[in-house]
Symmetry: C2
Subunit: 411 residues, 2 copies
């Protein structure tokens, strides 16, 4: 018998019919002998409806009262799902975030969980009750209602799993797992049975469609096994764990997946005097404009100057280029330039730690397709390259094929 | 400077425009130097929407989860009204019933208030905040969400006024006060400036359109001055107090109003042996069928038998008559009969305590119009008669006129 925390998102509980289907699914797990804590989001569309009401009063509204308003969405779902379980003859009880209680800081609209008092839940579980908890919400130390910000229901699920020492936190969503890459780009993309937290984080560009990054970080920190499954189809989904060594496969895949990001733009400033503090002089004004920087590269130049390149979100490209032109004048740099038709391709895998030559293999695969690499950046378990936008699909397919990702079919 | 508790019902907050109008109204009272606690209901239609969702799952659903569901309605309103006050530059803070905290028993769907911890509210009021409280809801001692049942927002207002020792509890509704009788029946019906709690309770058939009886009882018990006002028009409304002697008018009206009830039906059993326990033998089976009885009359007959008459709600007439026919056989009574085309007319007034001849004046007025009286029942401050339904309007107008109710115009 296992203790499972399951989380069902807005689409999964988007209508009375779907709530009834979730009840059936929960009961199947219960009948298999598991204890269940079920975290639910607001019915899809409900949060938007509430936000629209608030915006009619004040288009810029933030803060405490927005949380009071939005948390009603999940409260409706917990009541309806619990009713559906009761109708089927099962003991079940709903909990708001405050009732649990999920204690957060007081940063309304984007609060962070401080602690969870799981005593009441544990008591109810012992009596055989199915627990239904409102996701996305908590209370601060003064009893003010808070929300965890976007995607916070995933975080609620993971935090409850950690507090209850659950055997698994299962995130039910509209995809059936994490794939080696986006199946819309590579038809042969394969569902991964298992992936590490680190890999999942590095695959953010793929993973963010499946799981909130914050929930993955949280799960990694507290070592909560996390599983992504489909609400609508049967299947094992993808298990995300800290332990990759448990993998039964004798020959472990060197890399787990191909991530990509088409939202980036590249900015370069050439011929900057190579003196201490120059990086700060360039990026300080960018940061002051609230622009987030992703990749940063600095090359040693030939004549005591340096070339400095970084990437930003494509939406920030024009603003960033204007700032950089001013910086270039101040620094007497040769020229500032940019390119907003680029994409980032990454190969991700804990296996590359112990395998030499992965990077060169990646560059070879791309070279064989005639794809010119504009930037390279590496981390422990990820190698990223920036290429021209037009090479996105070709590059992803070539890498997916070149690293034999499709051939790991288990069926 | 006064402390006012104001309650706005579902129609008053039925749209964003109306919520903004309530904000404006609240601010006018605030600007007059008052402290304000504002109790609101769910936006009109919202409770029905939520109930419909629940009924799709289980048409007979009751209990804990229904309360979790329905309380979201008021929670939405408190957030929106507080946002509207913030937008206008006023300090305001919303409270759910649980946040106040309004402690109730655990009778879900019809809970009763046990106590109110007003310390936090008092603190916020001291800092000049406008307090916005969700009506209709509370929590039991274990933190379970409860609702006070139908019309419970009035009760929330009165209970808060009592706990905070407010100067007045103002119930804003869609009528501008309590009238001497229904203006749809008597065009000259006059708004009462003042009425006692007892009169208000006896005028239930009129009053229930304006105020929940339970809130009036509560206000009477804790001597909270209660004022009924219009949400949509300016005006003084009607003040409901325990103290009728404060009335400035030298010549106090003997009666305050004419109430009527067209939902009643009369049942009679004739020629019952006049023995102990006979009333129970007749009404026991009626009560067992969950039928509520209003008026009960027993007359001494001539031949050692008695005639027994009572009234029930018209919807229960057929069931009650069937039961009574069986009872008549068991009791060997002469005959059971009934009439579902009757109405009850009542004159109500604390003044009648000290005035003789009120009853005979009432009977005279009705006799002058050729109206035959079928039943009579009296209490301390009310005299009720049952007459044929066709005489309703004629009877009410004759009494309203005969007791000079229209002539007390103050304008």
């Amino acid at each position: 018998m296992a203790l499972l925390v399951q989380k069902y998102g807005g689409t999964s509980v988007g209508s009375i019919e779907r709530i009834e289907a979730v009840a059936e699914k929960v009961i199947r797990y219960k009948e298999q002998g598991n204890d269940l804590v079920v975290v639910v989001s607001a019915m899809s569309g409900e949060t938007n409806r509430l936000t629209d009401l608030a915006k009619q009063i004040d288009p810029t509204v933030r803060g405490r009262e927005l949380d009071v308003l939005l948390t009603t969405g999940e409260q409706v779902t917990i009541a309806l799902l619990t009713m559906a379980l009761h109708k089927r003859g099962y003991d079940a009880k709903s909990y708001t975030g405050g009732q649990v209680k999920i204690l957060t800081d007081n940063a309304h609209n984007k609060a962070r969980i401080v602690s969870i008092d799981a005593a009441n839940l544990a008591q109810d579980l012992k009596q055989g009750q199915i627990i239904v908890v409102a996701g996305f919400q908590g209370v601060d130390e003064h009893g003010n209602i808070t929300t965890l910000g976007r995607g916070g229901s995933d975080t609620t699920g993971v935090a409850l799993a950690a507090a209850l020492k659950a055997d698994e936190c299962q995130i039910f969503t509209d995809v059936d797992g994490v794939y080696t890459t986006d199946p819309r780009v590579v038809a042969e993309a394969r569902r991964l049975e298992k992936i590490t937290f680190e890999e999942m984080l590095e695959m953010a560009s793929l993973g963010s469609k499946v799981l909130q990054i914050r929930a993955v970080e949280f799960a990694g920190k507290y070592e909560v096994p996390l599983r992504v499954l489909s609400s609508f189809e049967e299947g094992e989904g993808t298990l995300i764990t800290s332990d990759s060594s448990e993998d039964d496969s004798v020959e472990q895949a060197v890399i787990s997946g191909i991530a990509f990001n088409r939202d980036e733009a590249q900015l370069t400033i050439n011929g900057v005097a190579d003196t201490p503090g120059v990086a700060h002089q360039i990026l300080g004004p960018i940061s002051d404009a609230n622009i987030e920087v992703d990749m940063i590269l600095q090359n040693v130049g030939a004549d005591g100057t340096t070339d400095f390149t970084f990437t930003v979100h494509r939406n920030d490209y024009d603003t960033a280029l204007n700032i950089l032109n001013k910086v270039a004048q101040d620094l007497k740099a040769r020229v500032a330039s940019g390119n907003n038709r680029i994409v980032k391709l990454s190969i991700v895998g804990v296996g590359m730690r112990s395998h030499a030559g992965i990077a060169s293999k990646m560059f070879e695969i791309l070279a064989n397709e005639g794809i010119n690499i504009l930037m390279i950046s590496t981390s422990e378990i990820k190698i990223s390259v920036v290429v021209e936008e037009k090479y996105l699909e070709l590059g992803v397919r070539a890498l997916h094929d070149g690293f034999d990702l499709a051939e790991y079919e288990t069926e």
